[in-house]
């Protein structure tokens, strides 16, 4: 391995190591949470709810839950990791190394991305044992989930850099991300909503992400797949470019 490869791999390894050391909190808790949702919304309520778009309710909600798990874990891992290291001053060790802004941004991004990936894969595997979960369009599903994970990894990096206290991360998650994800239609089809909420949902970017993932698993969608994929890719690229700018200028990282 070249010096650059060793450096990047080490930066990334550090991020993975951080969440693996506290895996009860970083992997165990989100898994439990996802299964509580599946039990309550799927198994308990699901028996009272008719099929949605021709799909059993419990199966209908699982793709959205897998996506939500990946998104929230990507976000909260990166936001916490960066803030924590800023708080301890430990981030100076990476910042005073020869690592480039791009290497730093990618390594921080991929930490949360991997945690989301692990939780999503475990959720998928366990769900597959419990119910018959189809995978209809894997070529849409894989890029869609990767883009969602990477998008929220970028949001996490952005909030982590901007945050000055742990409250700032909690506020972003509780008051912005969770409502957007819930109202994007994880637990229902937007068709069921009365106006103006049905139209408003179309302004929620998470709505398109859920549709992509649901299409990938179940072959049902309310939005254009091509449009959703392109918009998500564009938004992810824009956010990545914005974060890279922050790393290049040293915003809130280098005095």
């Amino acid at each position: 391995m070249s010096a650059t490869q060793i450096r990047f791999f080490t930066l990334w390894r550090r991020e993975i190591n951080r969440f693996m050391k506290i895996k009860k909190q970083t992997i165990g808790a989100p898994l439990l949470e996802t299964f509580l949702y599946i039990s309550v919304f799927g198994a308990a309520l699901g028996s009272r709810i008719d099929q949605l778009q021709g799909i059993d309710y419990v199966i209908f909600v699982i793709p959205g839950l897998i996506m939500m798990a990946w998104a929230i874990n990507s976000f909260s891992n990166n936001a916490s990791s960066i803030l924590q290291q800023k708080f301890q001053g430990a981030i100076q060790d990476q910042l005073s190394s020869p690592a480039s802004p791009l290497e730093l941004l990618l390594a921080f991004s991929l930490g949360g991305f991997m945690r989301g990936f692990v939780v999503a894969v475990l959720t998928f595997t366990a769900a597959s044992f419990l119910v018959d979960l189809p995978v209809e369009h894997i070529l849409v599903l894989i890029p869609a989930l990767f883009l969602v994970g990477f998008f929220f990894a970028q949001v996490g990096v952005l909030i982590g850099i901007r945050a000055e206290q742990f409250d700032d991360v909690a506020i972003a998650q509780t008051f912005v991300l969770t409502p957007l994800i819930f109202l994007g239609g994880v637990f229902y089809s937007a068709d069921l909503l009365p106006e103006p909420f049905q139209t408003l949902t179309h302004f929620n970017p998470v709505y398109y992400m859920i549709n992509l993932v649901r299409y990938g698993f179940l072959d049902v969608t309310e939005a254009s797949i091509a449009f959703s994929l392109l918009a998500l890719a564009a938004a992810t690229a824009a956010l990545f470019a914005f974060n890279l700018r922050l790393f290049v200028t040293g915003y809130k990282l280098r005095a």
Partner: protein, 268 residues
């Protein structure tokens, strides 16, 4: 890119270990921490940077290591521009900061291993180097402990070991002996004198004048973001027309009345 030296490149004269010219650092708040600082540190030199709290010592160090961004001026580390060619410049520097900025999640061994990884050191070399420094700094018993559980002195040892992991040619020690016990201070002095003799350039900031006097070949006084004087201990004392470094320092900060030689005169 080679992680190591660029020896044998046939350069006419060896570049200075650290060459700072007209460095200005203005923070967004408007505070001007450095107001046109110029410092040259030759390869192999043991250089002391002394000055009162808030004089700009740490800001200067942060500018040289990429932790702060200079407003104007230039910084070269062994001929590499610290901004345009930061990779090469930072590769050459080991920083032991004043704050105990360790990652609580990592163990002692991981702290050393990751640091060297950030500097591109291969695994086998990292293992060997970490074992060597763990031994040198008596961290063996704590090897697999998380850094959060270490005592202040142990944290200080680890920060020094970490700075040395990638075999820097310029070692920057920002108040390394603040709050450490006598044994560690003496151990540290011995160690840095040894690696200095072996060729490592050292930049030390300290409030202990006897430390600077004993260790440093050359000393610069910094106050209010400017270099007030620099030279050997004798030159500085001569500059201020006093007998020793402490009195020169007191003259610098305008507190001659605190001079111990003067107190002795008054008492006798």
């Amino acid at each position: 890119m080679s992680a190591h030296s660029d020896n044998g490149s046939g350069l006419p004269a060896p570049a200075n270990a650290l060459q700072i010219e007209n460095l200005i650092k203005r923070y967004p708040t408007g505070v001007e921490a450095l107001r046109g600082v110029s410092v040259d540190i030759e390869p192999g030199e043991f250089f002391g940077l002394l000055g009162p709290n808030g004089a700009g010592k740490s800001t200067l160090i942060h500018c040289a290591t990429g932790l702060a961004q200079p407003t104007a001026g230039s910084i070269q580390v062994f001929g590499h521009d610290a901004i345009d060619n930061y990779g090469e410049a930072r590769q050459a520097v080991g920083l032991a900061p004043q704050e105990l900025n360790l990652d609580w999640f990592l163990t002692v061994a991981e702290t050393l291993d990751y640091h060297a990884g950030y500097f591109g050191m291969p695994k086998r070399e990292r293992r060997e180097r970490a074992a060597e420094l763990i031994e040198t700094f008596s961290l063996g018993d704590k090897r697999d402990e998380r850094t959060r559980t270490l005592s202040g002195g142990m944290k200080r040892r680890l920060i020094l070991a970490r700075a040395l992991m990638h075999r820097p040619r310029l070692l920057i020690l920002d108040e390394p002996t603040a709050g450490v016990d006598i044994e560690l201070r003496l151990e540290l002095w011995q160690y840095v004198q040894r690696i200095n003799a072996e060729g490592t350039t050292i930049l030390l900031t300290t409030h202990y004048l006897e430390e600077a006097e004993q260790l440093c070949d050359k000393i610069a006084f910094i106050t209010d973001g400017q270099i007030a004087a620099q030279g050997s201990t004798a030159e500085l004392a001569g500059n201020y027309g006093v007998a020793n470094l402490e009195d020169a320092y007191l003259a610098l900060v305008g507190r001659n009345e605190l001079s111990r030689s003067r107190v002795e005169e008054v008492v006798t």
